[in-house]
């Protein structure tokens, strides 16, 4: 077993860190306060290759592997999870769904612009009444001649108000997951309204939106995959998305580790650095082990993706562990900062607020445990 990175992976990791340390880290507090990152960063991220990393070259991508993508996601998570979310939703959820299920025409229409960061995509699955129970969503797409008319409501959609295009999951058939289809809907379509959700605990720099669709007309060529395949497309994409979230969470843990080590070795109380107190070292040791464990679970899942093997359960384990570890690391790290951890002059409280959603979205910790439990026992405990 060889866990060493290739020269190119290390080079990209170093460039990503250098870029983010210069272009993102100095601004993250301000972006967090004003509830919006500077969107001028998006095409810059595109130039470096963050969006196109794992897409084939014929669609404007760079043909990189998933381990490299996870390294990029870790660096983004360490710098600012709001930025990480913009990339992982546009490339990982939107782009990967189109790559997996799209027609050649659909891929050519959207992927080059997604890969360059020129266009952003979003993923319209969650609805006000269906979160974990996505298979029972109620947005409806009904036939009208050769077109579809889509009506319904979506909520908590990352990139929602910025995106140029949205994958809208809507019911074309009967109840349950098998009645769901997916559609590529330009967000400037008549009848497509968006409202930004303000006042989030974390990820305040990224746009999270409610979407309202009223008889939005799309041609049949906008359907992604066959009728009834929507839920399967969503779940497949989310499996990979979980690896990406896990990598972002690893970045949060790593960021907490670096900040806590720096602070506790500089901060002096009782005449010595607080890092010399055993209870502080306990905090540091726990975060350090969590960083390694989260990273190794993430890399294992990414390696399975790269080798074309089944990775769903590994992804659930990585996402479950890394997201809980991110909350733990930010919380205990903040403790080591004392009162300074509570103000946004230092990054600990932002790490904690950003980490908190990680155990909720793209499958809650409870959903991950049910998936892992089902894989271990063969018994479905969802319903």
């Amino acid at each position: 077993m060889d866990l060493s990175l290739t020269d190119e992976q290390r080079a990209f990791q170093a460039v990503a860190r250098e870029f983010l340390d210069r272009e993102v880290v100095p601004h993250r507090t301000e972006w967090d306060r004003r509830e919006s990152v500077d969107t001028a960063i998006v095409p810059e991220l595109g130039k470096l290759g963050f969006f196109g990393l794992t897409f084939p070259e014929e669609y404007g991508g760079l043909g990189g592997d998933y381990v490299t993508y996870c390294l990029a996601m870790e660096e983004l998570g360490r710098a600012d999870s709001s930025i990480r979310g913009i990339v992982s939703v546009s490339a990982g959820l939107f782009g990967k769904s189109v790559l997996a299920a799209g027609t050649e025409e659909q891929k050519q229409a959207w992927l080059p612009r997604i890969c360059s960061g020129e266009a952003l995509g979003c993923f319209g699955l969650t609805e006000p009444d269906t979160g974990s129970d996505a298979g029972n969503l109620t947005t409806r797409a009904r036939r009208d001649g050769s077109d579809y008319l889509i009506s319904g409501q979506k909520i908590f959609i990352t990139n929602g108000t910025w995106a140029d295009v949205c994958i809208v999951f809507a019911r074309t058939g009967g109840p349950g997951p098998k009645g769901v289809s997916a559609f590529l809907v330009p967000t400037d379509s008549p009848g497509f309204e968006r409202r930004e959700i303000k006042g989030k605990l974390g990820l305040r720099g990224q746009a999270t939106a409610e979407l309202f669709l009223t008889d939005v007309r799309v041609p049949e060529s906008a359907r992604l995959g066959a009728e009834g395949e929507g839920f399967r497309i969503a779940m497949q994409t989310l499996d990979k998305g979980r690896v990406s979230v896990a990598a972002g969470c690893t970045g949060i843990v790593q960021g907490c580790l670096e900040e806590v080590v720096r602070y506790t070795t500089e901060r002096r109380q009782f005449g010595r650095p607080i890092a010399s107190f055993q209870l502080v070292q306990e905090i540091i040791a726990q975060i350090s082990v969590d960083a390694d464990a989260a990273r190794l679970l993430t890399w294992r899942a990414a390696d399975l993706v790269d080798r074309g093997e089944s990775f769903g359960t590994a992804a659930s384990k990585a996402k479950y562990y890394a997201s809980e570890a991110a909350v733990r690391a930010a919380n205990s790290g903040l403790q080591a900062f004392g009162g300074y951890g509570y103000i946004d002059e230092y990054p600990m409280q932002k790490y904690l607020r950003d980490a908190r959603v990680m155990t909720l979205y793209e499958g809650t910790s409870q959903v991950q445990k049910l998936l892992i439990g089902r894989a271990e026992t063969g018994i479905n405990a969802f319903t």
Binding site: G49, L53, G64
Partner: protein, 260 residues
Amino acid sequence: MNIVVCVKYVPDAQAERTFNASDNTTDRENVDGLLSELDEYAVEAALKLVEAGEGEVTVVTVGPDQAADAIKKALQMGADKGVHVKDDAIHGSDAIATSLVLAEAIKKIGSPDLVVTGMASTDGTMGVVPTMLAERLGLPAVTYASELTVDGAKATIRRDGDVSTQTIEATLPALISVTDQINEPRYPSFKGIMAAKKKPVEEWSLADLGVEAGQVGLDAAWTKVEAFAARPPRSQGEIVTDEGDGGKKLAEFLASRKFI
């Protein structure tokens, strides 16, 4: 247009930089190093010129094994090929010897239309190699360019001084050193990193260049470091407490340091 960019691998300013205790030369092997930041501007300037027209950018460096990293970074940014001159005899060379090795390397590369360098290295910070190199190559030298355009066989350079700005024209081929005001160097992209793997890098020794070992190295150097000592830690600053006369005290402090 074919451009040669001279680059240097320097100790990272963020790291603990030191000298070798045995011969008082800069320690380049036990300290993390990188492509001198000032040379990134030279690479960027060359890439911009070639991208606007045609031709290729060759980067050349003189240094130990690790200096290959400086070439690699330039190739990742987009340069086309690299030349690495390395030879144990070069260790301890001064600016005069460095300019000799670079000049012979550039002659062997061919006859570039333009040689571009940074304004100085971030370790030695002498800033004399560009003009020495131009002298050896018989090229006109324009230093400290903060703007550079090329039209046919004519380069136009803006040179910002303390009291005036000069616009200088030079006929190609020429050597131009650039400042950190000339551009914003790009970050290597993932595409650039992957592409750099396949770009050619030649390694040349002094013998390949026809340079005698006795012409370079510490023994041939005109300048040597006689002794070095770590900089003493910064002393504690003076805290002025405002008791109604804070402004006066500050002014007195500044006056005592001849700032006002």
